[in-house]
Amino acid sequence: MSIRSTRLALLLGGSLLAAAPTVIAHHAIAAKFDETKSVTLNGIVTDVDWKNPHVHILINVKTGNDVVNWAVELESPIALQQSGWASDAVQVGDTLTVQGISARNGSKQAWARSVVMTKTGRQILMVRNTMPPAPLQPRPAPKGADGKPRLGAAPGGVLGYWAYPSATVLKDKDSNVAMDASGLLKNVAEADKVAPMQPWALALYKERQRRFLQDDPTYLNCKPPGGPRQFQQPEGVQFVEDPVRQRIFLLLGGGNSNYRILWMDGRGHKGQVGGDDDNPLYYGRAVAQWEGDTLVVDTRGFNEDFWFTNGGLPHTEQLRLVERFTRSDFDTLRYEVTIEDPGAYTRNWSTGWTMRWVADQELPKHFCQDNRP
């Protein structure tokens, strides 16, 4: 291990300790950084840490007679690489101007909104999150030999996956409460309008919001993003259909790169109402069938060790999801979900969004890593 790497580990460790006991490892941006605390840094690069889940650049910033080492945090290596950047885009010794927002806990950390190479004035390491262009004329959804739509790769072996969800937060379809892309409410007082929560669930949701979602197990401990949020991750999902074994593998690009099985062989849910009661799962136990051109997936048997939405809506082991997948055309997948959880909600509620087909590509290789900021 190099001295630089050791210093980086100690700096990041120290930063985490500074935040204790509300430790923030991998995180939603708002959990760690304060939108209202703008900062501009001019400094010399001392290290580049090009690793999941977030890239860090350390820079020495001269302030008066002192030199302070700042940790500048950026998007993931995947997001940067997809935008054309490599780990050698910035070298030790380069001089940078960074504009961003600083950490809530006052530590010398900043989330970069703009990174400019001072020598050339060129903006670098910006992420282009551009949805693939839609064809002028919608193409029909591909169908398999059984006449049913294919949710995965089209016949002939064309690769692809689904991403760019039209919504990244979960709220009742009739709710117009304002929140950011990570599910952080603009006004916590409007929490009761997000979904029909029981009093304890509403209070817990508000508490999570007031803590800026910093306790989200998906980020904090790489817990799987079970439930609808798996379709709201930036890395997308891929359907791999296995008609011989009558099942569909649902591969996740985000979270901890896990998978889910949708059983199509007519099996029922085991055990009691809760599903597979002996073994509650992060993704539950899913059985699926076609209703016309829509795949209907009934999932039960969830555990309570994760957040099933971006933004921290609570759930219990009584959670049941009825999901409907409709490939309305070649490039569009409609996802609709009804949430039943009498343990946390006062009635069933539903919502939905669309995803876009990303053609000719495999899922991004994103890996969550515990205890890395």
Binding site: T6, A9, G13, L16, L17, A25, N221, D305, P314
Partner: protein, 134 residues
């Protein structure tokens, strides 16, 4: 030496994050709790609670397998996370029926090892009460 520094750094990160490594994210009272209750610190007894939430009521057992007492009239007030539990048991010394009333408050709500601290009353006795979620 470098390896040692790295391991120490990793340990620091793990210890710092330890408070919520295995969070239980459902109803805050659900789970197994272990702690003590008694008239004083010097005369406190261990206590185990298993609590459940069925969507309408908090149910559970105090000291399962030993001096079983079924939890009754349990409630959680989200305004302040106030906990109320009642149970009927027997006085260990004379076998007389005792009605217990526990009132407390959840602390460290966001963490798996959250606690409930408060007071208990049973017959003519009362004292401090503290349990921690396992």
């Amino acid at each position: 030496m470098k390896t040692a520094i790295f391991r120490v750094s990793l340990l620091v990160l793990c210890v710092a994050a330890g408070g919520s490594l295995l969070a239980q994210e459902g109803h805050p009272l659900k789970g197994s709790w272990i702690g003590t209750w008694g008239p004083s610190k010097a005369h406190s007894s261990d206590i185990i609670l298993t609590l459940n939430w069925d969507g309408k009521a908090i149910t559970g057992v105090i000291n399962p397998g030993t001096d079983n007492m079924e939890v009754k009239n349990a409630s959680l007030n989200p305004e302040g996370w106030l906990v109320h539990i009642e149970a009927d048991g027997k006085n260990a010394a004379n076998g007389q029926a005792v009605h217990y009333v526990i009132d407390g408050k959840i602390d460290n709500l966001a963490f798996r090892n959250r606690t409930v601290t408060g007071t208990w009353k049973g017959g003519s006795e009362s004292g401090a009460f503290k349990i921690q979620r396992q």
